[in-house]
Amino acid sequence: MPILTKDEAFALLKKVLSYSKADECEVNLNGTDSGNIRYARNSVSTSGKISQAQLVVSSSYGKKSGVATINEFDDASLEKVVRRSEELAMLAPENPEYVSFLGPQKYAEPITFVPATAAITPKLRSDLVAASLQVAKEAKAVAAGFLEDNNGYSAMMNSKGLFAYNTSTNTNFSITVRTEDGRGSGYATRGYNDVTKLDTKRATQIATEKAVKSAEAKAIEPGKYTVILEPAAVAVLLERLFFGLDARQADEGRSFLSKAGGGTKLGDKLVDERVNIYSDPLNPELPTSTWNGDGRPLEKVSWIEKGVVKNLTYSRYWAEKKGVKAIPGPDGAIMEGGTKSLEELIAGTKKGVLVTRLWYIRDVDPQTLLLTGLTRDGTFYIENGKIQYPIKNFRFNESPVIMLNNLEELGKVERTVSVESNANYLLPPLKIRDFTFSSLSDAV
């Protein structure tokens, strides 16, 4: 099924709703065309193209609801899927936390669709990868990378008059370059809505440089160090904080945002006062959808302002129970930065460790948001404002909350991709004191 226009989606959803006999009915429709190339050992390994579409119908009788989906779009199939969701609703137990569907909403016009990305051909993908491979081969290094692109639309309509529509494109690229002897490794990642911004050659040059420079790593003692975390490393730590903003968990006393004696840290100073974190669907560097899956508008929201927790995310049920606005979770987050480049942050560091990337991040203690993981693909020792030599990788045990209290400096913001969740963020490199490295790793 091709990507539907707003008018086509409206007409199709209207037709689906016309079959409904339930108290309430809501229909979600989405479709994607995606493509990818994967390469390793300086050679392409797998590559593919995937097309999918689905229609999801939710019907409700009182507090009982049922969901059914289909990927056929003729009239008989559309009616069948509505009937099936109604049958399921009648069989379902009552959900005391059921909340009636939303009525009509106002959404900002999203800026997530870029025609050039939607028009990617197998040849363009292949050209982008060829440019990357050439850099590695010329350096007599070994490249492994992944390029993927998505072109999709989503729409929803319900029996209370809500209608929403969005198209979006994105492309993510990541590259690891290793020296032939396997003693050095470097990494770079890029994410854009607009593929014309993607420079696979430049990203591969950065990864290659890191690989070559990291080859003669020395072991230094684990312990507390001042670190400069590049944005890709910042992303995987801070997203654990973004994912943990749920008000209900905090209210129930089982979150790092819960307080001794009850209550939450909403309104409390949690981290250094230079920390400002927000989301903005209309940011031109990180545009996201302007509505979420249950039809709520996604707006600009401040999460942490001058170090103070300004907002938490709410399900519609929990917001209704608490009598507050049901702010949905963000689809991408932005942290304000400073004016310094990464090089300037290094130049201002007496002793420290430069971290390119962090890997295998897992929660150790949800109470303190203590995380563990390792440095990877380019870890360097800094002394007197200069990178002195590559060092062996470390395991860390650190909490992003503690880390943001130990903030020294923020650099210039750039768009980056989390290797853990694939989500895109706008984040600065961060200089942090007393970052806890707990052991050495022999891994390259």
Partner: protein, 544 residues
């Protein structure tokens, strides 16, 4: 579907943060539809359209997978059913070799024209990418099996069990945990049925029916005055079984400091224990960091085996195919070729097995039409083999694939995935108590917790669910804030005792992530309780 969409759909909330990465789940459907199957003759017809279309466009090899992936989740918290989700994902993936290069296309509308178009696209992608090859794909030879089938030997199809029975079980589990002291509990039943059809130009037409189940809960106790909280997760294992896994018999239980389960699981009994133990964890003594002898229960050890033996012996990692994401491996080919690389102590025997009954990885044939079997990975401590698939077998000098190819969906490209990898039980008669008796200063760890390992699988850190302090051969109380860190080779060489066959149990991962785009697979790891001497234990307690 992204992980957060799944979390939204399942209403998991707090529990989701304790789960590993969640894969693509497919589309919600009516539960009754899960009992329908697709006629094999129709699947053969559709597959032949793809095979012929690809061949006519210049493919020298083609395989087609028609997959119907069914999932059911029942999600509850305390006294509420949060969600009942039935999903189906049905479609076709076509993989070809043309001009020596792989190409792939996947579609969910399987009419003849669309299939032919997809086959053509797969060939076009392969031809376009051929210029990026350093050498053409070399497939290990594989005979065609003709028309064959394989079915998981389950006793009760989970999808035939009424929703009400599942809801009632989870609500009574929640009630038991709350009565025993928990303040909150999330519980979930995951059920999976993969109906997979494979056809290839080698002349195989393979129809398979795979079942998996995972009951799990997360029981939390809160101390309101201090603001501290602790969670005790279920000690269940995900299994390649039907609903019979939840019908525990007396012979499936192992008595001890807490009841452990073997082959079948008593969820209600475990929830009752968990409700009390969440409270005990809050009051437990914070661990003194240092070296301890660790006694690791199979409900914990499976994850250490998975991360430190399973992943580094994946040949694609060793060769560098996963360098950009999961990483490479310290178990390089020279170590294997030397025939004397001491991976572990002499007690350590590790076997790969795709046929183990009740395991998550059991199938008749892998996802590129290779019949499955078992082989040694580590023999008396020495690394002797890896895990591989058709296009990499020749790099080990093998003339046949080991049958380790898997795709998590029709829309995903199949690639090398881990078979069940298990530590063999000790040959001498030895019980858990026998092992504990000999320990002067140790910690007995039950259940899996936090886990992290580097990209070449040297340095790892693991937590658990229950930590019991051992002093002079006796369990003296519970500990908290425990995690151990080790180097893989040092750890396995410190293995000094393994309980016998009577203690052998399976653990496993329902959602093991690998590849780009990331795919998940399910895999089991068996062991008996084992002892590891002098392992470094850290204290994970912090204040914010």
């Amino acid at each position: 579907m992204k992980r957060r969409d799944f979390i939204y759909l399942s209403g998991l909330g707090a529990a989701a943060s304790m789960l590993p990465g969640i894969p693509l789940m497919g589309n919600p459907i009516d539960p009754s539809r899960a009992l329908e199957t697709v006629d094999v003759a129709l699947k053969k017809q559709l597959a032949d359209v793809a095979l012929n279309a690809a061949r006519s466009k210049g493919a020298t090899y083609t395989d087609v997978r028609i997959g119907r992936y069914l999932n059911q989740f029942v999600v509850t918290r305390e006294d509420k059913v949060q969600n009942i989700v039935n999903t189906e994902s049905y479609g076709m993936g076509i993989r070809v070799i043309a001009n020596g290069s792989w190409g792939f296309a996947a579609i969910d509308k399987m009419d003849k024209d669309n299939i032919a178009k997809a086959a053509e696209q797969a060939v076009a992608i392969a031809k376009e990418n051929a210029r990026l090859l350093t050498e053409p794909v070399r497939l290990a030879p594989q005979k065609g099996y003709g028309e064959v089938s394989w079915k998981a030997p389950i006793e009760k199809n989970s999808f035939q069990v009424p929703i009400k029975e599942k809801v009632d079980l989870l609500l009574s589990v929640n009630d038991a945990a709350m009565k025993a002291g928990a303040d909150y509990i999330n519980s979930i039943l995951f059920m999976v049925n993969e109906q997979k059809y494979f056809a290839s130009t080698d002349g195989s037409y393979i129809d398979q029916d795979v079942h998996r189940i995972w009951p799990a809960f997360f029981a939390t106790k809160i101390d309101k005055t201090t603001g501290k909280f602790e969670t005790r997760n279920s000690l269940s294992a995900p299994m390649g079984m039907g609903y019979e896994y939840l019908y525990a018999r007396p012979q499936d239980k192992i008595a001890g400091v807490t009841t452990l389960y073997k082959g079948r699981y008593d969820m209600l009994e475990d929830a009752k224990a968990a409700g009390a133990q969440a409270g005990e964890k809050l009051k437990a003594k914070s661990v003194e960091p240092g070296k301890y002898d660790l006694i690791l229960d199979p409900s914990h050890l499976w994850l250490t085996i998975h991360e430190s033996t399973g992943h580094p012996t994946e040949l694609d990692r060793v060769l560098g195919y996963e360098a950009n994401f999961a990483g490479t491996s310290f178990l390089t080919l020279d170590k294997w070729a030397s025939k004397n690389f001491q991976y572990g102590s002499k007690l350590v025997n590790i076997v790969a097995d795709k046929t183990q009954v009740g395991s998550l990885g059991a199938v008749g044939y892998d996802d590129e039409g290779v019949g499955c079997g078992q082989w040694d990975i580590v023999k008396e401590g020495i690394l002797v083999n890896y895990q591989t698939i058709r296009d990499q077998a020749h790099m080990l000098g093998l003339t046949a694939s080991q049958g380790c190819c898997y795709a998590d969906n029709w829309s995903s490209v199949q690639f090398q995935r881990m078979p069940n990898i298990s530590l063999q039980p000790g040959k001498e008669k030895r019980s858990i108590d026998d092992i504990i008796k000999g320990v002067e200063k140790g910690i007995y760890i039950i259940g899996d917790g936090s886990f992290s390992i580097d990209q070449q699988r040297y340095n790892f850190q693991f937590g658990g669910q229950l930590y019991y302090e051992i002093k002079n051969g006796k369990i003296v109380g519970m500990l908290r804030d425990v995690a151990y860190q080790a180097n893989t080779k040092e750890f396995w060489n410190s293995c000094t005792a393994i309980a016998d066959q009577s203690d052998y149990r399976l653990g496993g991962s329902f959602f093991d992530g690998k590849g780009q785009p990331s795919q998940s697979s399910a895999v089991s790891h068996g062991s008996s309780t084992a002892r590891f001497n002098g392992v470094n234990v850290i204290n994970t307690g912090r204040t914010i």
